[in-house]
């Protein structure tokens, strides 16, 4: 399977550092060696990044104590919902004398949320950190097998992970009786084929089983009935890559980074109209302003910032008065948005918010799996209504119509994709209502003669 020729050699133009990165104030746990394409092999990971030391430490501990350590660290899932990782791990059923389980572990490398490009950096530069995190997680939950589910477009990263997994297996970190601990665990990669919804954990499991990526009804939760009907834990790549860090520096040291109930560092991707887009690791709770103005350098055009989406395209939109919001799950939630996947999208004054709403809705309408009616029909209708507003055929009452759609989709869908589609729409209409009304009254887009954000 592995073809080394597909491993990336072309320079990567993403920016990963900023002034002061790597200092005590801005520790570097997840981006060590990022930007250097020779950083990935086992030799480098063991030689310069203390690779697999955390695994050795974890294997000396009882599995339950490893879960306890992750709980104590306060680590919250980086995939979107911010659920406590240690708690999630404790949901998997344990073997009893008369019932033995085959438990699975899955890493979510689907990375489909627009604005998000963080997991790929871990996969590209520190694949062994993910592998080590997965082995520690497997020890903690006593899993038999792990899968890394990739979005189909990440072909070159799958080849890299296949190569890294082989290295780990050859070194005795995967396979039978790992480092004499009695743990049998192996990893496999799986390639999706272009469906955003497969990032949702139950859709991911269906896809992993070779089915249509349609989310499943919950309960039963994956911890009870997951891949192949067995108890399964699904975690985001970044979440798992934090596990070796916690083991290495200790739960209390990890918990002291960031803010209350939001510990550790997080990868924030900043994109859109900023001068310096890139991927930056910052302690949780860093103010949004620091990211947008200091690291991002403000807007490229020099125009004022108009709007910010702080957690990937499905997070509700914020305005410049929210710039002092700390970037952690709880503060962003209180500010009316979500931490989501950590993708920060900045828009300057020139942006037409109707176009932005239309482009986002087109995405969700396209990616709706079609299983449940509110999401399938609702997103499509919302796209059509937004489209006629943008192209000058909006009618009086269209905004109310959109709002009534939102209330009929939100909370009525099988998986959170419907909600994800409504959050940005609802907040954009609320905060930029005048702009929508101007489109309808004037019968055209007041800002642009042609659509800059949506193709005809």
């Amino acid at each position: 399977m592995t073809q080394n020729s597909n491993i990336r050699t072309k320079p990567d133009k993403h920016r990963y550092t900023f002034e002061g990165f790597g200092s005590e104030k801005h520790p570097n746990f997840l981006l060590r060696g990022a930007g250097d394409l020779n950083n990935w092999p086992l030799r480098v990971y063991e030689g310069t990044h203390e690779g697999y030391q955390a695994l050795r430490k974890a294997l000396q501990m009882a599995p339950g104590d490893v879960i306890g350590e992750v709980k104590a660290s306060g680590l919250r899932g980086r995939g979107g919902a911010g659920f406590l990782t240690g708690l999630k791990w404790s949901f998997l059923p344990q073997d009893t004398p008369d019932k033995k389980y085959t438990r699975y572990l899955a890493a979510n490398a689907d990375e489909g949320e627009p604005g998000t490009f963080k997991d790929r950096a871990i996969l590209e530069y520190n694949p062994h950190q993910l592998i080590e995190g997965m082995i520690i997680a497997a020890w903690a939950m006593q899993c038999r097998k792990g899968f890394i589910y990739f979005r189909g477009e990440f072909k070159w990263l799958i080849d890299k992970l296949d190569a890294a997994i082989k290295e780990a297996r050859d070194a005795g970190y995967l396979g039978q009786n790992i480092l004499g601990s009695g743990l049998d665990f192996d990893l496999d990669t799986y390639r999706g084929a272009g469906a955003y919804v497969c990032g949702e954990e139950t859709a991911l499991l269906n896809s992993l089983e070779g089915r249509r990526g349609e989310p499943r009804q919950k309960p039963p939760f994956p911890a009870v009935k997951g891949a192949y009907g067995q108890p399964t834990n699904v975690n985001n790549v970044e979440t798992l890559a934090n596990v070796p860090v916690i083991m290495r520096i200790g739960a209390s040291a990890y918990a002291s980074i960031g803010v209350k109930n939001n510990s550790g560092t997080r990868l924030f991707g900043i994109s859109g109209h900023v001068k310096n887009p890139g991927l930056f690791e910052l302690p949780m709770g860093t103010p949004l302003r620091y990211l947008v103005e200091t690291i991002g350098g403000g807007t490229l055009s020099g125009l004022p910032v108009k709007a910010i989406i702080p957690g990937g395209a499905s997070a509700p939109i914020l305005t410049p008065d929210n710039l002092d919001t700390p970037m952690d799950f709880d503060s962003l939630h209180s500010a009316g948005s979500e931490g989501g996947s950590g993708g920060v999208i900045v828009m300057d004054e020139s942006t037409c918010m109707v176009q932005a709403a239309l482009r986002a809705m087109r995405f969700f309408a396209h990616e709706s799996c079609g299983q449940c009616t509110p999401c399938r029909e609702g997103c499509h209708w919302a796209e059509m209504i937004l489209s006629r507003i943008e192209y000058g055929q909006g009618r009086r009452g269209d905004l109310e119509l959109l709002e009534s759609l939102v209330s009929r989709i939100m909370g009525h869908t099988l998986c959170p994709l419907g909600d994800a589609a409504c959050w940005p729409l609802e907040s954009i209409i609320k905060k930029f209502r005048r702009e929508f009304e101007a489109h309808i009254e004037q019968g055209k887009c007041p800002a642009h003669s042609e659509s800059v954000l949506v193709s005809a």
Binding site: P114, T116, W156, A193, G210, R211, R359, Q393
Partner: protein, 195 residues
Amino acid sequence: MTNPHPPNANERSLAPGQRLASTKKTAMSESAVAEIRLLASRYPDKLAATLPALYIAQSDMGFVSLSAMQEVARALDVPPNHVYGVATFYTMFRKSPVGRFHVEVCTNICCALRGGVKIFERLRERLGVRPGEVSPDGMWSLAEVECLGSCGTGPCLQVNYDVYDELLDDAGLDAVIEACKSGRVAEWGSPALRG
């Protein structure tokens, strides 16, 4: 309701009433069948081999035609309906022929904020193809796609499975087209792109 811009049927995986494209090539090569059978043993359940098998069929037969789906069902010994369902769900299984260089441009929000839509329009002119078509010489096909996970270096595009995540501008676009023409990009269906 009047909708001035109904979604383009060609950009959907399979529009209602649209038929699956047929092809002259109706059988999969022996080596591809063998590869698929080997795959089936790699997973806890052979059904799980459906997606990887469709990738193999796609590069072996050029695109995922109805025959390709049937061949996958036969090779894995699973119901053809299961394979139809899977193949039509995922956009990366191409249900119609593509050019030797299938160019996919991200026009999602972050790339669009940095000119992704312009890049797409320009490519449409430069390559002389509309989305869903193949150029007469068989060289090019073009599609607008959703976020490729390179938002920080957008606008970006992908040619076959090669990613160009490098803040593309017009000059960059020319370089990509040149790279394809001079054979520096793996062609659609070439063995390097398998699996």
